[in-house]
């Protein structure tokens, strides 16, 4: 048979797979490897979606998504970050940020165009760039600097083929929140080199002791920025697959073309649920954020005691400690911890080479489970500590 797509064949499968299969089989395994909230969607949101289905909201919507939802998102973004997006022409409801990311790339890239992103990064970035015919250019960050985007390295990575910078703050997997000053510098660089900025702000509502800066709100940024956001993390709505893209009208028009011919529209029940979330979800967002914050403080303190050094993450729900004191590589650590203590974590190297020497722990897990997992990790590390 003829060979399958080169672009797809060249992309390695997700590095998590191998551990997933083991972890799924182990009986009393505690997983700190999950990248989604442990809360279920707040009941008022689920209830609103049930109502919508009962009322017959079972159809396609506009390709752009429900106008009322776009209006609410526009108002929400305006109130929170002072950014102005027209619900008529500068917004698109997507099937999660995942789709937003994919269609951003396809709308922007010509074959060979380079997209710079900082790693450790979410695992989908490089593949999405590759699928769109582009070239991913990962730029490492340093854990001693709290995984802040390194502007100097960014400058060095820019070539004549660079098309866009892709950002994700608050960050998965490091929990880093980019400072306003760094983001301003990135905007200056983007303007200087005429680059697009794609910003994945799915974790925008989960920040602790820090403020989230929406990069589109910085002077000169909005005209070259695609802002991607969604409901999965803030409202515990991962399974609803609902997000949005905001960008200048001519970019949205291109993204919309891909969306129209491939996705058609985001599911209507999820769009109705998202409306309810924006309308009445604020207290729940804050309740969950507070709960994450308490776990975060606890887990950071305990990890440092255990010897797995970590800078307190300021966002998302991950800690990304160094495991160097054990002398193990990330995958060895993960595998041995899984078999010996039945705790699942994600090896840092799957998020990029500067993630080597780290593992990702999610604190989107109940407190008693976190406690037990830390207890086991402590026992594991104490046997190996050098």
């Amino acid at each position: 048979m003829k060979p399958l797509s080169q672009a797809v064949t060249s992309v390695p499968p997700s590095g998590i797979r191998r551990f997933f299969d083991v972890a799924a089989q182990l009986e009393d395994c505690i997983s700190l490897g999950v990248g989604e909230p442990d809360f279920v969607t707040p009941w008022h949101i689920r209830e609103a979606a049930i109502w919508a289905i009962e009322k017959g909201f079972t159809t396609y919507t506009s390709n752009y998504g429900l106008f009322t939802l776009r209006q609410r998102i526009a108002a929400h973004l305006k109130a929170r970050y002072g950014v102005d997006y027209s619900p008529e022409s500068e917004m698109l409801i997507t099937v999660g940020v995942s789709e937003g990311l994919d269609i951003s790339m396809r709308a922007l890239l010509n074959p060979g165009d380079e997209v710079i992103f900082f790693e450790p990064s979410y695992v989908s970035y490089a593949p999405c760039v590759l699928f769109a015919g582009g070239k991913p250019v990962p730029v490492p960050t340093d854990y001693r600097l709290g995984f802040q985007p390194d502007v100097q390295r960014l400058r060095e990575a820019i070539t004549a083929r660079t098309k866009a910078i892709l950002l994700c703050y608050p960050n998965n997997p490091t929990g880093a929140v980019a400072t306003r000053a760094v983001l301003e510098e990135i905007v200056r660089i983007a303007i200087e080199h005429d680059l697009y900025v794609i910003t994945d702000e799915i974790y925008d509502r989960l920040v602790y002791d820090a403020e989230h800066t929406c990069i589109a709100s910085l002077p000169g940024a909005a005209e070259r920025t695609i802002l991607l956001g969604g409901f999965s993390k803030s409202y515990a709505m991962t399974g609803w697959r609902i997000g949005y893209a905001c960008a200048p009208a001519q970019i949205i028009e291109m993204m919309m073309k891909v969306h129209q011919y491939t996705m058609l529209c985001a599911p209507i029940a999820a769009q109705k649920a998202a409306e309810e979330a924006l309308e009445h979800g604020e207290p729940e967002v804050e309740r969950m954020r507070r709960e994450y914050d308490r776990r975060r403080r606890l887990i950071v303190e305990r990890l440092n005691e255990i010897g797995l050094e970590c800078v307190p993450p300021q966002g998302a729900f991950y800690v990304f400690p160094s495991i160097r004191c054990t002398g193990l590589r990330s995958e060895e650590f993960t595998e041995q911890l899984l078999w010996e203590e039945r705790v699942a974590v994600v090896p840092g190297n799957v998020f990029g080479s500067s993630g080597e020497g780290h593992v990702r722990l999610s604190y989107a897990t109940s407190l008693p489970k976190i406690e037990e997992a830390l207890h086991r990790i402590e026992r594991f590390v104490s046997k190996r500590r050098r």
């Binding site: 997700s14 998590i16 442990d38 308490r294 776990r295």
Partner: protein, 164 residues
Amino acid sequence: MEPEKQKALLEILEQDARTTPEQVASMLGVDIEQVQRTIQQMESAGVIRRYKTVIDWDRFGEERVFAFIDVKVSPAREVGFDDVAERIYRFPQVHAVYLVSGDHDLRVIVSGRTMKEVAAFVAERLAPLDRVQATYTQFVLKRYKEDGEVYAETEPDRRLVMAP
């Protein structure tokens, strides 16, 4: 400790009274002494009443009957309903007493081992009290949620064990 953190401390203990001062301290980013001191203050001020455990007696296999009893009371000068309420809540069988708006004046929750026992309590203790004009008893058939606790099977964690 700042009022905001005091409130957070109370919320944490309300959710799980067994959270240790060490844990509370790291969750709130304050030192342990401060946590201990605040807890003591809250205890002596009566803000923290006591620490108890939520038990599902049904699951343990012990039957308990609960009834809501709406009580009509003629109020008295100077004391209103307070003295009657007090006479009622002193009985250990009485789980809760509220002054309520509407057709009746007091809502009393009574528990007992059997319906007979609860009925006897109403007939012999509650109804004959001075100024109690009428009682209206409703037995609880099934308890779904109480004090924020849902008494159903806990829903399983449906997430995949690992996800990026």
